[in-house]
């Protein structure tokens, strides 16, 4: 029997998942806006971030807030490597080579993790206070869920402000609209792109913590589906749109959890299929997404 409180609980789970998709979609959409790169490797940084903070807190007992800061920095450094090793050398080579390279980098990172951490899954736990629950009438919500929802809102708002108010943010929007004109204005686009990657991977690494804390287990191969689904969220919301990535993330997260929650048990494996059916429908009926602008073809 579907009670109202069961439904509300599932809705919260959907919003939490949606928050994580939003955060990842944000990083993807920014990079996509500038480079037209569908960043398959984005999910790898979620996985690496999760392992990074796992080792910091569980093994080396680094105090949690400090570990979170270290995690963001670690994510940023990965972004630097990712851009300089992979994409700087591929400027101007078109969309597919970029996509293929990101796929290659994803496979590389996943298997590196498999070799280092072994194929087994690790029990992940955040500090105890994250699992205390706040009760709201019939439903209750864990602190980790509040943390995830609040962080995603704060990060998305902060990022929007960054895009509106700062010099680099404005340059980022200009570069996304017209890369060549941006170069003519003296914008160092390599720096802009690097900044976009750093922000995106740092957010992805932080999401790794939220993911591990929510689902209590991490494994070398969690990244791919997360990354691909975040891209689906980007497409739903509209490529290049920050608000769209948030909207797309929530829609996808809620849709996914509700299909699992409402379908009879045993149909859970269909959820990935449902996500992609959603993608197919959006691509066919509204390729610029819910809030996106029509994109120019960039050669």
């Amino acid at each position: 029997m579907l009670s109202a409180s069961y439904f509300a609980q599932q809705l919260i789970n959907g919003i939490v998942l949606g928050s994580m998709y939003s955060l990842l979609a944000l990083g993807m959409t920014v990079v996509y806006g500038i480079l037209r790169l569908i960043n398959f490797a984005h999910g790898a940084f979620v996985m690496l971030g999760a392992f990074f903070i796992y080792f910091l807190t569980s093994l080396w007992n680094v105090p949690f807030p400090l570990a979170l800061v270290a995690l963001a920095i670690f994510g940023g450094v990965m972004g630097v490597f990712y851009d300089t090793v992979g994409f700087r050398k591929l400027r101007g080579r078109g969309e597919l080579p970029l996509l293929i390279t990101s796929l290659g980098i994803y496979i590389f990172l996943e298997n590196l993790a498999k070799m280092i951490f072994s194929p087994q899954s690790y029990a992940f736990s955040a500090p105890d206070y994250f699992y205390d629950r706040i009760s709201l009438g019939n439903v209750s919500i864990a602190n980790i869920d509040v943390f995830t929802i609040a962080s995603s809102i704060i990060i998305v708002v902060a990022f929007s402000l960054f895009l509106r108010k700062t010099k680099v943010g404005i340059a980022m929007r200009a570069t996304a609209e017209d890369l060549e004109a941006a170069r003519m204005m003296g914008i160092n686009i390599d720096k802009v792109i690097l900044t976009a990657f750093i922000i995106g991977t740092a957010i992805a690494a932080l999401t790794g913590f939220m993911w591990g804390a929510k689902y209590s287990s991490i494994q070398y191969n969690i990244g791919f589906m997360i990354g691909v689904k975040a891209f689906v969220a980007v497409v739903i919301g509209g490529l290049g749109s920050v608000a769209g990535s948030m909207l797309g993330g929530y829609i996808l997260g809620i849709a996914e959890i509700l299909t699992v929650g409402l379908l009879p048990p045993g149909y859970a494996p269909y959820r990935d299929g449902i996500v992609f059916t959603l993608l197919v429908i959006i691509l066919l009926t509204r390729p610029s997404g819910l809030l996106g602008q029509k994109e120019e073809v960039r050669i």
Binding site: L90, I100, I105, F108, N111, L112, M115, P269, D272, V297
Partner: protein, 341 residues
């Protein structure tokens, strides 16, 4: 022209004689590897029709393989063993509960179903540009995998199907490759093939020359799905057990990497890439297991992919078909170089 033909036929006959001698003398494991290389080669060659010639970056080929594999297995599975294996009996219109299909028609049926499925998939997907097509076909592959996991009555779900009769041998695999190569060469010599290449070079210009894009993309897409279906059947009857995870990310990416490293857009590139990388993976397998470095092979594959993408985007073949003439010319050029220095 006539001389070419005799030469070609002689080469083929010689090749099959060598295969026969190999089969008589080499051990089972080595023959299995040679067979598997053949199956992969058929996948990669057919992938080259879309990803190489036409510039359609298809990531859905594992889905078509799954169709071919499950179809062929369901049709050929021994009637007596079905109950024990929890597989359905054939309905009357397919021969009834006591019937099991011979290999060839079952294989063909798998290919045909895969090709038929490619039409409704292609109609919408082929209208999408560049990397959207890639993502959409990836979605197709994932949807197919979900179905294979959930349609337990047909596929036994995640458990997979075991004890599939072994039918595949080198004559089957390399025979199909031969058929494929013949069709591929004929296609690329036709005006159709030239239009496909034109689409790859410049989609907008091709449209301006009023090439009906979807039509010219559909033929290679459906044709490659057919051969992927065949390859799926060959794969099932070679490894003798299949599960949905056999037709998933690992296979998708491994074959994509083979094509790109060998050189997209050339048959010889596809052949080289498949042979080298598959052989490499079997050579590395003892190392991986001995050192317990699981993932080592994929790590090397992907590192090679990244390096190739950055340094040699045309792959090993360099965008040229390595025909005997081409190799001879290259060698001659090299020799000239050494004279002048």
């Amino acid at each position: 022209m006539k001389k070419d033909m005799t030469k070609g036929i002689l080469t083929i006959v010689l090749f099959f004689i060598i295969l026969w001698i190999a089969q008589q003398n080499l051990n089972k494991y080595v023959m299995f590897i040679i067979d598997l290389i053949g199956v992969y080669m058929l996948i990669v060659l057919s992938l080259n029709l879309t990803n190489g010639y036409t510039g359609l970056f298809n990531l859905g080929h594992a889905g078509f393989m799954a169709v071919g594999a499950y179809t062929s297995v369901l049709l050929t599975f021994p009637a007596a063993a079905r109950k024990f294996a929890a597989l359905p009996y054939l309905p009357p219109w397919l021969g009834g509960p006591n019937y099991q299909w011979p290999f060839l028609p079952a294989l063909l049926m798998g290919g045909i179903l895969a090709a038929l499925l490619a039409i409704p998939v292609g109609l919408p997907a082929l209208r999408l540009r560049g990397h959207y097509f890639a993502v959409m076909t990836l979605g197709f592959m994932i949807i197919m995998e979900t179905i294979a996991i959930n349609a337990r009555g047909l596929t036994r779900g995640a458990l997979g199907i075991n004890a599939i009769p072994t039918y595949t041998n080198v004559f089957w695999t390399y025979g199909w490759i031969l058929i494929f190569l013949y069709i591929d060469i004929m296609l690329m010599r036709s005006s159709y093939g030239r239009a496909m290449l034109a689409i790859r070079e410049d989609e907008i210009a091709a449209q301006a020359m009023s090439i009906n894009l979807t039509k010219y993309k559909m033929v290679p897409f459906v044709l490659s799905a057919f051969f992927q279906g065949i390859a799926g059947g060959l794969f099932a009857h070679l490894t003798t057990n299949i599960s949905p995870y056999d037709f998933s990310f690992d296979l998708t990416f491994a074959t994509i990497i083979m094509l790109i490293i060998g050189g997209s857009g050339t048959m010889t590139g596809a052949i080289l890439g498949t042979s080298i990388l598959t052989a490499l993976s079997f050579a590395l397998k003892p190392v991986e297991e001995g050192l317990r470095l699981y993932g080592l092979i994929e790590l090397i594959y992907s590192a090679l992919l990244i390096i190739v993408m950055i340094k040699w985007p045309l792959g090993i073949s360099g965008g040229n078909e390595w025909t005997l003439d081409y190799i001879a010319r290259k060698l001659r050029l090299k020799r000239k170089d050494t004279y002048t220095t």
